[in-house]
């Protein structure tokens, strides 16, 4: 519990900044919707005619003129990318930062098992992701109400659940990698999140690359697919859960055997 509280205290500023930035961006996106919705018919036709570009971002499958379609692409990218970067940064730095700054020696000289340290840090990461998403959902709902649109409860529930799972998967995978590092690597975390994002774009472009949807957590957060199918793709999500569990198990396995130098 002390490790959990300590991690939350250590990460509170970063959490505040990322939550504020993502919420602000999503709020702005929603607020500008009424102004541009009148031009959406033309925009949708334009996107439909942009071939691979629209395909890459799933914009060929949805009606950009409808609020849910607009939200899933515009706001989805903000929360998708922003959330993934945040999750990757807190995941990759959770264990490695202690070794880089030699605070692991301080921590591990106390009667706290390594399993407790990993659990405390994982729960803190999960809590930070929950806090970020709750704040973003609150800002989203209030913004939607403010512009006079109906809140698409089921669609939002599916989208936000998918984003949460994606962020947690990204954090778990980078956390697992963090157990192997002895220096902090924000760069590696951001690169992993970016690779996940681009793998999904490649998978959107050609059916032959569908396998990539199983690898990247962005596979099951594809707003266009969720809206069209009115469901999250269970197979992609299952693969994501396997990666999440694998990242977590690997972090326990490695960190408990690791020499802290």
């Amino acid at each position: 519990m002390e490790i959990f509280k300590h991690e939350i205290r250590q990460g509170r500023m970063a959490l505040f900044v990322w939550t504020a930035a993502i919420s602000f961006m999503i709020g702005i996106c929603i607020m500008i919707y009424p102004e541009i919705s009148s031009q959406m018919g033309e925009v949708s036709n334009m996107f439909a005619g942009m071939g691979s570009f629209s395909q890459a971002f799933g914009m060929d499958k949805i009606n950009f003129g409808e609020f849910t379609g607009f939200f899933s692409v515009e706001c989805g990218n903000v929360l998708g990318l922003g959330g993934a970067f945040f999750a990757a940064i807190i995941g990759i730095s959770a264990l490695a930062k202690e070794e880089k700054e030699h605070t692991a020696e301080f921590l591990l000289a106390h009667p706290v098992s390594r399993a407790e340290i990993i659990s405390g840090k994982l729960f803190a990461i999960a809590a930070q992701i929950v806090i970020l998403n709750v704040a973003v959902i609150a800002v989203t709902v209030l913004s939607v109400i403010a512009i006079g649109e109906d809140v698409p409860v089921k669609t939002f529930a599916m989208l936000f659940f998918a984003y949460f799972m994606m962020q947690f998967e990204t954090a778990a995978v980078t956390f697992g990698i963090s157990a192997f590092l002895s220096h902090n690597s924000f760069g590696a975390g951001i690169a992993i999140a970016a690779v996940f994002y681009f793998l999904n774009i490649v998978a959107n472009l050609t059916e032959q690359a569908e396998i990539l949807k199983y690898i990247t957590p962005f596979g099951y957060t594809e707003g266009a697919d969720i809206i069209m199918d009115n469901a999250i793709n269970g197979r992609y999500l299952a693969a994501g859960i396997i990666f999440t569990v694998a990242g977590t198990v690997i972090s326990f396995w490695k960190y408990q055997r690791k020499d802290i130098l």
């Binding site: 002390e2 490790i3 300590h6 250590q10 700054e101 030699h102 605070t103 020696e105 301080f106 921590l107 591990l108 000289a109 106390h110 009667p111 706290v112 098992s113 055997r257 020499d259 802290i260 130098l261």
Partner: protein
């Protein structure tokens, strides 16, 4: 009961040597110094004792418990001061001290306050604003506030000014009198001579001797200083020969009668024969070219 025992303890980092076949024995209630040059294996040994790294071979026990199997239980009874004194830079000193106490699930506020007062530590400052000495003081408070049975300190006085060093050793002596065991590594041999009852010397990963500090200093060798000569050719059992103009100084470990015979043939104007200080004794063990224990 032994406070620390290691049995053929070895650690290799890949192919690099950490420590080799270290057999260490520290009695409960002892004030034990662990001496060796940089890279000799002092910190490696300490890190194995604390469970920070795993031994490649051999076993280590603290207070009768295996360091790997009973790590958490051992750490409850141990206070550790790392040589680097790295702390969370964005925290205040009082928060670091409280975090340490909370991690031990112990209310140490009264003892922490006493230690801060004695060491002159301002707890309202941020760690990032602290000098090495003040970071070290913070670590000392964290390591001592729960009054452990065993203190393991790695280079404790580096960065501390002489007054605080004196106060720090006063506190350690008080704890030692109360029954606690102190195990500290140091480069400062005068500290070891002044405060420790026993000491061990480690060089190139191997423990080369372990004995009482009195015995370690009492090796039978004498520091001989001769005036009026500039060489001592023909005299055996000499080491650490220093020649300056008309003065020759050396450590002599042979028969006294042979020394006197040799001196009678030399144009000596003045002779001083004294006990070597501990520093001189240990320098012998530190240097690679000399044999071990041949003083």
């Amino acid at each position: 009961m032994k406070a620390i025992t290691t049995d053929h303890l070895a650690k290799y980092y890949g192919k690099s040597r950490g420590i080799v076949d270290v057999n260490l024995s520290v009695d409960k209630g002892d004030f034990f110094g662990f001496i060796g040059p940089n890279g000799a294996g002092k910190s490696t040994t300490i890190r194995i004792l604390l469970g920070l790294i795993k031994a490649t071979d051999g076993t280590a026990e603290i207070l009768g418990q295996d360091v790997q199997k009973y790590k958490t239980s051992i750490l409850k009874k141990t206070g550790y001061l790392p040589s680097e004194a790295s702390l969370y830079s964005n925290m205040r000193v009082k928060d670091v001290i409280r975090l340490s106490a909370n991690l031990r699930k112990t209310d140490c506020r009264a003892e922490a306050q006493k230690l801060c007062d004695r060491l002159g530590l301002d707890t309202s400052k941020k760690v990032s604003e602290l000098s090495l000495g003040n970071r070290k003081k913070t670590c000392i408070v964290c390591a001592m506030q729960h009054k452990p049975e065993l203190y393991i300190f790695d280079e404790p006085t580096s960065g501390l000014d002489p007054l605080i060093q004196h106060e720090f050793y006063s506190i350690l002596k008080e704890r030692n009198k109360e029954g606690a065991t102190v195990f500290l590594s140091s480069h400062v041999l005068s500290e070891i001579q002044r405060y420790c009852k026993h000491a061990a010397v480690i060089r190139e990963g191997k423990l080369i001797l372990s004995d009482s500090v009195d015995k370690l200093g009492n090796t039978g060798a004498k520091r001989v200083t001769l005036r009026g000569v500039c060489s001592i050719h023909g005299l055996k059992h000499t080491r650490d020969v220093k020649i300056t103009q008309d003065t020759v100084s050396f450590l002599y470990s042979g028969e006294p009668v042979l020394l006197l015979k040799a001196l009678s043939t030399l144009p000596v104007t003045d002779v001083t024969i004294s006990e070597p200080d501990l520093e001189e004794v240990f320098m012998h063990y530190y240097t690679k070219e000399d044999g071990c224990g041949n003083l």
